[in-house]
């Protein structure tokens, strides 16, 4: 059996190269892979393209990556009111931003995971988001073409993993994590607890093991405010 369990957060991110395209789960302070972000900060991977709903909370979450100037481009829906380090880098033109409507961010990642080459949507028609995109009239509506977002790695946070990589999430900490797990070549899950295969009721598995390539146990780190 292929071993997916790693002994430390440093070991699980050790091969992530400079220039990698990486998805980061989490929303509203919940479900962020904060231990993996710290490990990636220690490793010092540079020129990252980050895909994340927001851009950190002060030093917390992705804030640390912007503080360390590890990210060169970010695809996000809502950088957020406390993304100080991102805004500093953005103002200094050290990082570029693609803003994407939140649900379309989800669907573009899902398209990547689902093997679909894009989709048409009414969301964003006539707005800045539509600039440069193909427009068509479908089912009586103006639509724009949105393309998939792929990633080399997804760093996600789950509650429980079994040894095979089946995952459960806690409450609203699920958010972007299951979607990103499907969209990346290598998905790394930071989990509160690892249990033997068969422990999680198959009916309760939220992300099936096929989408999860590496697991590491790490107790939750959270940033207040």
């Amino acid at each position: 059996m292929k071993q997916k369990i790693y002994s430390s957060t440093d070991a699980v991110v050790a091969d992530i190269p400079d220039g990698a395209q990486i998805m980061f789960g989490g929303f509203g302070g919940a479900g962020f892979p904060n231990n993996l972000i710290h490990a990636l900060a220690r490793k010092g991977t540079k020129n990252i393209t980050a895909i994340s709903n927001n851009c950190g909370t002060r030093e917390g979450e992705l804030g640390l990556m912007f503080k360390n100037n590890q990210i060169k481009h970010v695809i996000a829906s809502f950088p957020g009111p406390h993304a100080n380090y991102f805004q500093e880098r953005f103002a200094a033109k050290e990082v570029t931003l693609e803003l994407v409507p939140q649900g379309i961010l989800c669907e573009r990642m899902r398209a990547a995971g689902a093997g679909l080459q894009g989709f048409y949507t009414t969301v964003g028609v006539g707005t800045e988001v539509a600039e440069g995109k193909e427009e068509r009239f479908l089912e009586g509506k103006r639509c724009i073409l949105e393309m998939p977002i792929h990633a080399d790695y997804a760093l996600i946070k789950a509650q429980q993993a079994d040894e095979l990589g089946n995952l459960t999430y806690r409450l609203a900490a699920r958010n972007f994590n299951p979607i990103m797990a499907m969209a990346a070549k290598t998905t790394i899950a930071e989990v509160e607890e690892i249990v033997p295969a068969g422990t999680i009721n198959p009916e309760h598995v939220m992300t099936p093991a096929i989408f999860v390539h590496r697991i590491v146990q790490a107790k939750g780190l959270r940033y207040a405010g």
Binding site: F27, G28, G29, A30, G31, N53, N54, C55, A76, S77, F78, P79, G80, F86, Q87, F90, A91, L97, L99, V100, P101, Q102, G103, I104, C106, E107, R110, T121, T122, V123, G124, V125, G126, T127, E128, V129, R142, Y169, R170, L171, A172, A173, R174, N175, F176, N177, P178, I179, R222
Partner: protein, 224 residues
Amino acid sequence: MPDKPRLTREQIAQRAALELPDGAYVNLGWGIPNLIADYLPKEITVYFHSENGILGMGRRAKPGEEDFDQVDAMKIPVTLIPGASFFHQADAHLMSRGGHLDVAVLGGFQVSEKGDLSNWKIPGSKGSGGIGGAMDIAAGAKTLIVCMEHTTKDGAPKIVKKCAYPLTGLACVDIIVTDLAVIDVKPEGLIMREVARGWTPEDVQELTGAQLIVRQRIPEMSFA
């Protein structure tokens, strides 16, 4: 005219709450819309939706009962009502985009006479701005209500012929509730439905950048 009292933000929320039908699935945006939950008429039940994957949000959590894995879109810990559910972010937005959500209420910077909405970025403002879920919600909700002050702090109309600010969505707004009036957005234009106490339709028209259609005597805004 500027001395006449206008509705408070809480009163705007209270008036908008009356637009929610019993049993509706509802998303409340940042700002005034977020206050609506406090003013629901007692006899109705609505199911609050959050873009981070919750249906059936209850009141905000009291000190000591917060769980920071159970937060709303503004990152505030909330409670659940019996029968609530969790799901991932793609399903949460599918609910709004796919037309499953009955009502969404958003804040606004500008609304045009065609119902175009600008609510995510003020030109010249500092920083990157952020869209969040507003464009998905604007595109898909069955009924979109915008709650906002009728004019900016400088007195400029926020209801305009054509939005000058970056757009959130085209022809998406159905109802506008302001501190001066309730206005329905229809194919024929902006129909005035109610006016704030002490104000006349002519007063409100003066503070509006687009033509308001007045079809009959306009009743005072009601709160029950």
